[in-house]
């Protein structure tokens, strides 16, 4: 139970990392997320049901997300459409793209191979296949991101987010940087969509509803609990934040609250987390919000 929740948290954290790239570094509210997430799942599941290997299918889901991000980026930089609007346009167009890809609103993976069945030979305890594969993917993603951010290109990308005017004066093509950010970010979001679809066992065109909240929750929890961090710690904090968020949701379900109102509870949890630093400042409590598990 708790292991599977941790596994879910790890898979969802890929989404958090993707959102972090645009939301925190570039200060973009990118709404493409709610379209690129289910798109990754749709492409991946369609590929698997057509006999493509799960590894390739997962990568295809990621590429689908990247293309969605590219579209948003082009609308925003070349078309001069505000970024929120570009994201919304792409998000709602993707609904039809998914229908076109899957030929139905919902596609099941029952009795089909998944990325996680690669470990079936190892005879692991239940749910550890998801945890292990998730950890491997997270390790690769974080390594790639750190590698990228430490190159000249990555530094230029961070500079664009910090101060666009200054970045421009240094000869950085800020438009290109924004497109790059949206492509990488939505690639990761598509990847996490592909992973979640495989762990849930189906893809559905409505899977994107509310995922931004989950991604933001992992970022916010990571920032709240661990404060100022270096880049690598920041990424790990997002993974931890994502796991803690899933555990909080599990706690709400476990405590037999009426799950009909689950969205209300998750908003309250997030609201409380956001208020904690303010409260601790008021009451002089030095502990900025300990975990309440």
């Amino acid at each position: 139970m708790i292991v599977s929740t941790i596994g879910q948290g790890i898979l969802w954290s890929v989404l958090g990392l993707g959102i972090y790239l645009t939301y925190r570094i570039l200060d973009f509210p990118d709404l493409t997320t709610e379209g690129s997430f289910p798109l990754g799942g749709a492409i991946c599941v369609t590929a698997i049901t057509n006999g493509v290997s799960p590894i390739v299918a997962t990568l295809l889901g990621m590429i689908g997300g990247m293309l969605a991000g590219l579209t948003t980026g082009l609308l925003y930089t070349k078309g001069k459409i505000p970024v929120i609007l570009s994201g919304i346009l792409v998000m709602s167009a993707l609904n039809s793209v998914m229908l076109f890809v899957m030929k139905s609103p919902n596609l099941s993976l029952l009795n089909q191979p998944k990325l996680f069945s690669l470990l079936s030979f190892a005879n692991l305890p239940a749910n550890f296949d998801v945890v292990l594969i998730g950890l491997i993917i997270i390790a690769i993603v974080i390594a790639c991101l750190l590698g990228f951010l430490n190159t000249d290109l990555g530094q230029a990308y961070i500079a664009t987010g910090d101060n666009e005017v200054m970045a421009k004066s240094l000869g950085i093509h800020t438009d290109k940087m924004k497109i790059l950010g949206l492509v990488v970010s939505n690639g990761l979001i598509g990847l996490s969509g592909a992973l979640i679809a495989q762990s849930d066992g189906y893809a559905d065109i409505n899977k994107g509803i509310g995922v931004i909240v989950i991604g933001l929750a992992s970022i916010i929890l990571g920032e709240l609990l661990f404060g100022e961090l270096t880049m690598i710690e920041r990424f790990i904090a997002i993974v931890v934040g994502s796991i803690i968020y899933q555990l909080l949701i599990l706690a709400v379900i476990k405590l037999s609250f009426d799950t009909t109102y689950l969205k209300f509870y998750s908003s309250v949890i997030l609201g409380i987390c956001l208020i904690i630093p303010e409260l601790s400042r008021k009451f002089g409590n030095k502990k900025g919000g300990a975990t309440n598990d």
Partner: protein
């Protein structure tokens, strides 16, 4: 300082994983070491609240009671409602399964899929899934072959088309409005099309991505068709009032597939009573928990006929005369 806190968090999570990993090898994977319980436990996962699905659940609970399984006394029903939030369905399924239930019930397709993905040994009974095979839940509707069986809410389309032709002898073109985002609807619309075309009707289909497009689409429809047909569809159920008000303006009758929708402004249908779906689901659950039947060789239950329901007030307004035979047949 902060750095330390992150280290602790990672260490705690790793610790939990390590301990679970070590203990995970000792236990059998699926909890087959179940002690016989005195009171059977049923886990129910409903996808979203709306009148039809709520009625299924109501029928389910009341039928169990009639069979001697009263909730909290002689049976324990564990109910979770996903409220259309698919990201929570898998956590909810795990929560239900962790209580080691004797059977699971999934109401609507995504809920059933979430359950099916989590367990291959606990029996799952489907409530309200038009075509379990198409949804990838069973190998075959007559020989499920796994841990899943249940009740299909496929409506008796042949009977419905016959009824339309009896009420509207001049009917030529019928428009179908349905959600492009639901698995259930597509298979129903395809069946309706085949049957109606065989009967010599022209079928025009109008798919909507969400409730927001219903109004626009209905306006277009009313200019092109003689009557409207709606499948059993969550999106359409939610936006049904919109269709009714626009169709009323244009004096176009609506033939829904669900009896509750006739009361809400449709003209007539031969529909499966949603409550009866729940009753049938409960009967199958009882058969499974008393070990009378096993899911793998219990065919998916499909209703051959339904209840004839007529909205006479609406018929009068639209100037449609209802033949006596049909009036007598309709249950009051």
């Amino acid at each position: 300082m902060t750095n330390k806190r992150l280290k602790y968090a990672v260490a705690i999570i790793s610790g939990i994983l390590f301990i679970s990993f070590i203990t995970g090898f000792d236990k059998s994977k699926t909890g087959l070491t179940k002690q016989p319980q005195k009171v059977p436990t049923i886990g129910v996962l409903q996808f979203v609240s709306h009148p039809s699905l709520d009625l299924i659940y109501k029928g389910f609970v009341e039928e169990l009671e009639r069979e001697g399984y009263k909730d909290k006394e002689t049976i324990h029903i564990d109910f979770q409602n996903g409220q259309a939030d698919q990201s929570k369905l898998s956590s909810m399924s795990q929560q239900l399964i962790s209580k080691k239930p004797d059977a699971l019930v999934g109401i609507a397709t995504p809920a059933a899929q979430a359950l099916a993905n989590q367990t291959t040994d606990i029996p799952i009974i489907l409530g309200a899934i038009s075509d379990p095979k198409a949804a990838g839940l069973v190998k075959d509707n007559n020989h499920p072959g796994g841990n899943i069986t249940g009740v299909s809410d496929q409506s008796p389309v042949e009977a419905q088309v016959k009824l339309m032709k009896e009420l509207l002898p001049t009917l030529k073109t019928i428009g179908v409005i349905y959600s492009s985002a639901e698995d259930n609807s597509q298979s129903q619309v395809d069946r309706f099309k085949t049957v109606a075309q065989k009967e010599g009707l022209t079928v025009k289909t109008y798919a909507v991505p969400s409730t927001n497009e219903i109004s626009q689409m209905t306006h277009v429809m009313t200019g092109e068709v003689d009557a409207i047909y709606t499948p059993t569809d969550n999106t359409i159920a939610n936006g049904f009032q919109t269709i009714v008000s626009i169709a009323d303006e244009a004096n176009i009758p609506i033939f829904p597939s669900v009896d509750t929708m006739v009361e809400e402004g449709g003209i007539a249908t031969i529909g499966i009573n949603q409550y009866d779906l729940g009753v049938q689901t409960a009967k199958m659950v009882v058969d499974v928990i008393t070990k009378k039947k096993s899911p793998s060789d219990t065919p998916i239950y499909t209703f051959q006929t339904g209840d004839l329901v007529i909205n006479e007030e609406k018929a009068q307004k639209l100037g449609i005369t209802i033949p006596k035979t049909i009036k007598e047949e309709a249950k009051k």
